[in-house]
Symmetry: C2
Subunit: 403 residues, 2 copies
């Protein structure tokens, strides 16, 4: 009987360990695979022989539940692109552990690893199955309706917008708050800020995605309009917005000024825009970089996201046992109301290194907000509070090392 190996790669999400839990329970639940190995630090772990057996730890179902609610990567991560000269070493390592099933959980860079391994397998007629399992808060993987990890990050961002807005609304002073959100090229997560809006919450008032060229004068005009209408203006902005010349706004400055805002600002686009607002409009302004919390706040994970992420891990094992290889698992949406998806697999060649940006129909004509179509798309993904484990008021996580 043969074995399986799983690795995690790229940037963290709060759902990537749920997918790992799914893969492990999928393997433990079949008699067709003997051992499930984990590669420490992604693909570099198998290349450098940092491989551990996972069967024992996860015989205990409670550990699987703990794993599913632990943020970031239990097996640690890497950012490493496979080179041609790695391939024979990689395969001989897989053979050393009698690996027939290789599962790699990651974003579009990680899918490049699956694609290369699959090509090598085909070329050399090896009896190895390679499947990718998506994860990214950026939600920018092709072929899948959405990505594991996105729903939870979206929930965190929208909740944060709502709570920061309540914080801002208390003073009788015109104020602008600018929240900087991750997603350098794709604005999916920034767009999710708009989920905060509800019957008694007008924020966010403006949403700027990297899919549209950012014009500072139009932005300042928007802010003036917003101050007139709302007094307190809440803005969501992608870290990656660029002007029409393709220059990052985060790297810009108020040219020709010799005051404290006159030199290039450190600390991202929110602080740059804060500088512009204070200088040009003279109102109170606070730039907030939400930072890594949006990808690691497992205490606020979406139950929908975590459930799907764990299911797609289990499904990957099923698909692998059916002989599917060279593919990435995807979500296919059947309907939004009621929300329903199915799990499928899609050719890795159309996914690796590709990037799915926010389509035109989700962005308003002015380029300063999202459309109702986007809300309809994103709303089901944040439903429910994922189960947390708490001890002494603190989250309980599963950790490979004391760290």
């Amino acid at each position: 009987m043969s074995n399986a190996l799983v690795g995690q790669s790229g940037g963290p999400t709060v759902a990537i360990n749920a997918s790992l839990a799914g893969v492990i329970e999928g393997v433990l639940g079949t008699d067709k695979i003997d051992k499930i190995y984990g590669s420490i630090h992604g693909i570099t772990g198998i290349l450098e022989d940092r491989v551990i057996e996972l069967n024992d730890t996860f015989k205990d179902a409670e550990n699987l539940d703990l794993l599913a609610s632990t943020p970031a990567m239990y097996l640690k991560s890497c950012r490493y692109r496979l080179k041609d000269e790695d391939m024979s070493q990689l395969v001989s390592q897989l053979q050393k552990y009698d690996i027939k099933y290789f599962f790699y959980i990651g974003g579009n860079d990680s899918m490049d690893t699956v694609m290369k391994l699959n090509a090598y397998i085909k070329e050399h007629n090896l009896d190895i199955i390679a499947l990718g399992i998506p994860k990214t808060i950026d939600n920018d993987l092709a072929a899948t309706d959405h990505c594991p990890g996105y729903g939870s990050a979206a929930k965190y961002v929208a909740t944060t917008v709502c709570e920061v807005a309540r914080d801002c609304f208390i003073y009788n002073t015109k104020t602008i708050v600018i929240l900087e959100i991750m997603g350098r090229n794709a604005g999916w997560l920034t767009a999710a800020a708009a989920l905060a809006k509800c019957d008694n919450m007008t924020a966010p008032h403006y949403v700027y995605l990297p899919e549209r060229a950012f014009d500072i004068d139009k932005f300042l005009a928007d802010m003036k309009e917003g101050l007139d209408k709302y007094n307190h203006v809440i803005v969501a902005v992608s870290e990656g917005i660029k002007d029409k010349g393709g220059n990052y706004i985060a790297e810009s400055s108020l040219v020709g000024k010799s005051d404290s805002f006159g030199h290039a600002q450190l600390g991202g686009v929110a602080k740059v825009l804060e500088g512009y607002v204070k200088e040009k409009l003279g109102v109170k302004c606070r730039g907030i970089e939400i930072n890594v919390l949006q990808r690691s706040a497992s205490h606020l994970a979406s139950a929908t996201d975590i459930d799907e992420a764990r299911t797609v891990g289990r499904k990957a094992v099923e698909f692998a046992l059916n002989g599917e290889s060279g593919k990435m698992m995807i979500y296919k949406r059947i309907s939004s109301e009621p929300y329903e998806i199915t799990y499928e697999a899609s050719d890795i060649n159309g996914i690796a290194n590709a990037e799915k940006i926010v389509p035109d129909e989700y962005i308003n004509a002015e380029g300063n907000n999202v459309t109702d179509e986007f809300i309809k798309y994103a709303k089901p993904l944040i439903i429910g509070q994922a189960k947390n484990h708490e001890k002494d008021g603190m989250p309980v996580h599963l950790s490979l090392y004391k760290g």
Copy 2:
């Protein structure tokens, strides 16, 4: 029969509306007070006649529960110090609404309002009771064991440290993460970062409070030691740390450097220290300003804190009916294990404008961490997850206006 008036003032917390809920239910539960009025934007609301009756809205017990889980101030806030010339206007406004009981929820600046009103009442022999109810994430009010709002902020900070540490630990690269925490003069909230440490969590490795002079060379030596020991070093630092000359580190720069770190940095102490670490130690470093989330993240409020904050509001009404005036409600700790407090009232003159800093026994000899005594003090305050109301995956808050 006479009426009561309540107002909220100063910076937001996630517990201040729970205290408001407590005052309202205290008044609704007695037949000795007729109406409960709310003053919009703190004391300025009564001075400028922005006063609303609250009885109707909160006859509905569900609204009281919603209020208790809504962050920031339902009645809005102000930062206004009463002037002598305001006093007759204030009292005539109180008399206009037949107010016998005045409750003011706030920090040490807000207690100044209670003190001044009380002095005026005494001097003019008026039949008005003025009581303060504490709130502040800074935990710096005198006389009380701890302050409503602190436990929830502490829980948020410690949870954030834990989740950010998991995020940091995944790469095989020496890294320093510096979390900047609120509390300009008192380090209570920064100290709470240490609650993250548990069996499988070594972070935070260093904690710097404003109660100790900060030495940049000692800090860099600590970081070197930390990198050797842990590879990944998580640091909690107060926004208000100063050097031994009394200068804020947030305003310092690498003197004599002409590179990008050579000019005064915007964006707080975390970014300044990030600059020093990158420049002097040459390792990967990320400065994170936790920002207003630490005072507004009601989704992660401590059940202990919210319960106590609501109870102290109810108790304030009891104490007022017993004729106590010119005092602030306080928590008195009976024991830490098991945790038990009682509710008392303390003379406002010893509290208004005073500031309680972290005592020596809670800070280690090196000045780069807290002691076990502090952990014993703070641990009970973060226990339990306060009840949240959720709809469509988003928190439900109670709002006075569509805002």
